[in-house]
């Protein structure tokens, strides 16, 4: 197809898979800098903002797109198809945001089966009246022709579990500052890091930036959920018995949650040497339980209500155990 694009300008695509849309909004959050982006790059595909169809993308030459920012996880056949398509058409594919990076919040759906989700959504939810138990079908023949819907997969995948990913920009959503930094770096033509690198985040975990007072006194007699305790606003959350993912999560977000007196949920993902950030955090938290007998330990552990939701909130599809087993 004939796009009115300047060959000297970067060709940029932004796509969302299974996502909330926050990542796309984060791009807009660069505010007036958006003009700088547009000045430096042509947006060739961005469903949320531009009316460019899938078939237009299909029509592009391979590697036509310089950079694709892919946000959202892979939840259905459409997500997967687009991931493959964009991989084919893009020079650099970036997993943008937690969902594309590690599976993100949608990844917690891996604690349920597709069947149980459908049942809840289309049958048992309080706001649903569906006595015929009608469910969306991937293919329906109507007089006008055949209607199709993407097939929903049984579990949620991160982008790199479907296609090869060049870079990761973590965050839920990534901060606009980080995006700008990355974009500026690309535009300025500086040396790109090795493939597979997490960019737009620090190598060190969040505690490095966090301004709360930290000490070695980490022993905890019981854990609290944020609403169960009045945070003193200045002591390390963990020392107060609140589970904060900060020490297992890359810095780069600007510790905005913590500034809002909420413990870190880990959306920036683990540091480069960590295989399973949830397990690491679980290990660290268990280590500081202030009890020695199995009974006392069990009692303290009772106060960690939901280990999966606590330690794998934004990374479940990428964990060693990426979904719940249903036997």
């Amino acid at each position: 197809m004939e796009n009115e694009v300047n060959k000297s300008k970067l060709k940029l695509a932004i796509y969302w898979g299974a996502a909330c849309g926050g990542c796309c909004v984060s791009v807009l959050d660069v505010h007036e800098h958006l003009f700088d982006i547009v000045a430096a790059a042509d947006l060739v595909f961005w469903p949320i903002a531009l009316d460019i169809k899938y078939k237009d993308v299909e029509a592009m030459e391979d590697n036509f797109i310089d950079i694709t920012l892919f946000n959202g996880a892979i939840r259905n056949s459409e997500n997967e198809h687009m991931a493959n398509l964009l991989r084919q058409k893009s020079n650099v594919l970036v997993a943008y945001g937690s969902c594309a990076h590690l599976g993100g919040i949608p990844g917690l759906a891996n604690m349920s089966t597709r069947e149980s989700l459908f049942e809840r959504v289309y049958e048992t939810s309080e706001s649903t009246i569906n006595p015929e138990k009608t469910r969306p079908q991937t293919r329906v023949e109507v007089p006008e022709g055949i209607l199709t819907l993407p097939e929903m997969y049984d579990s949620v995948l991160a982008l790199d579990q479907v296609v090869e990913v060049d870079y990761y920009i973590p965050g839920c959503p990534p901060t606009s500052d980080r995006l700008l930094e990355v974009f500026t770096a690309i535009v300025s033509g500086s040396q790109l890091p090795p493939k597979g690198t997490v960019i737009g985040a620090q190598e060190k975990p969040l505690c490095d930036e966090c301004e709360r007072k930290k000490s070695e006194n980490k022993l905890v007699k019981r854990f609290f959920r944020p609403w169960e305790i009045e945070d003193d606003g200045e002591t390390c959350f963990i020392e107060q018995g609140l589970i904060c993912q900060g020490p297992a999560t890359r810095a780069g977000c600007g510790f905005r949650c913590i500034q809002g007196n909420a413990p870190c949920r880990g959306c920036y993902g683990p540091t480069s040497d960590v295989l399973d950030p949830g397990a690491k955090m679980l290990s660290a938290i268990a280590t500081v339980i202030d009890a020695d007998s199995p009974e006392e330990i069990a009692k303290v552990i009772e106060t960690i209500e939901d280990p999966v939701g606590t330690f794998y909130r934004t990374s479940l599809p990428h964990a060693l155990l990426r979904k719940k087993l249903f036997n």
Binding site: E203, K204, P205, L206, C207, D208, K214, S215, E216, N217, K218, L219, C236, I238, G246, P247, A248, A251, P270, T271, S272, D273, V274, L275, P277, K280, M281, S283, A284, T287, V288
Partner: protein, 574 residues
Amino acid sequence: MEKTRIGVYVCWCGTNIAMMVDVEAVAKEMESRQNVVLARTYKYMCSDPGQDMVIRDIKEHKLNRVVIAACSPRIHENTFRKALENAGLNPYMLQMANIREQNSWVHSDRIEATRKAKSLVAGAVSRVNHHQPLNKREVPVNPASLIIGGGISGITAALELADAGKRVYLVEKESELGGIAAMLDLTSPHFYSISDSLKTLIRRIEVHQNIKVYMDSQVKQINGYVGNFNGEIKIGNKKVKNIDFGNIVVATGLKPIKPETIENYGYGVFSEVITSLDFEQVLKKGSVLNAYGIKPKNVAIIHCVGSRNEDYKPYCSRTCCMTALKYANMIRSALPEANVYQMYADMRAYGKHCEELYADTSGKNVLFLMYDQREGMPIIEKDAIGPGVLIKFNERLSGEDIEVPAELVILMTAMESGKDAKSISQMTGTSLDANGFFIEKHPKLDPVSTTTDGVYVVGSCQSPKNIPESVSQARAATANILATIAKGYVEVEVITAEVNEDICCGCQFCIQVCPYGANNYDQRKAVSSVNEALCKGCGTCGSACPSGAISTRHFTDKQILSQIEGIMAEVGSG
């Protein structure tokens, strides 16, 4: 980067491994693994030709990683590390797979054992890919030593070291030196007066310019590591003294159990019944009388009071049999007409001149009566017709239920570890066995060292011992210590934790986790740091580090995870 080249060696261990494991098949399977240059088998890898083969291959084939599948690494890891070193390779580029103790010796299906061996070796191959060279570190040795316990072992060790011109701090919790030995009248089997010898030794200690004795004192804290310990001594009730020393000799000894807990002997109920240490006091007074001041016509000596009995102490207290024979002899001399009974469970006369003492004593009209602890222990009752008590039991050699009258009963009470053994083991980083005695590094080949370098355990704190054994151990430990002092330096643990400062965020999870205080928070850099001299390499901090900044050398996540991958990888069968 240098290309990884792995050599795999599978040991037959004669038939020990080869009989249950198809070693050739294991080696063949490994040949196809990534980076494996060669895989061989040999009859005895640990033998000189076996080691030479490894050394030759390293040189000829430019191997830079070695996997040895043989016995437990606890036996020969050091042997092969030395071989690597001799070949000019860093000794830590070695990984062993234990296919003997944990495979060929414990399994009986050859196919299964071979399959398992392949897995274990594959795990080692996978792991060795990630091994990194580690360098030995040397630290100077403080020539002063701390000796905990002023019994015969502690006294001997103190004098040995002090006579060699080294400073000694001797800490004794009681107000007198000498320990259990000081409570004894004569020794067995030679009937020497130990108190005379002890007095001389104690006098020498008191005036020795190299020995500082702390009486009524306890060690409160020990920090540091071999060659460079630091400790706090609490003197009396208040004063705390801080001292530096390079080695520690633990000689805390043991104590008799309380026989009151064994009700059938009626200790504390009948005045006729006394313990062996009570009897030593009687002997020291010069005449054998019971609590009523009467010369007994019948004296019963009951062995194994609390010893070799699952309900009390399962072990043999070791010195009682000979002491009991000593008593028989001394009673025979003092009271030629008395009947002397030895009520024993098994007579153990294992030492030099001990069987002779037994033979000699049994010729002195001493009646040996055997009882079986499992069938029921002797019960002591008041004698209805005689003046003393009656000991009732089933005599095992005749099968008869008998009653033995006695006006004096001596209980050979079991010995148990001292009550401060626990705290001292914690302070010194040593271990206690199930009975509360200190565990030596190797029960046969290294019987006075412990797994903590620079800490020695001597005498009865290891297990009940007689005087010559305690003295030998004390001298053995001091010989070791003097050798390290003479050398001037010691090599310290290279398997330690390390912090990747690029990742560490200063969360400080690791600080409290460390039992040795080796992890510190560096305020300036806002990261944790490991004092490698203090670190013992347990790796607990590594597993507690949420950011993956801490790794344990030679036991890194990568190494262990790849070992899991290797172990779980498919292997060919048969």
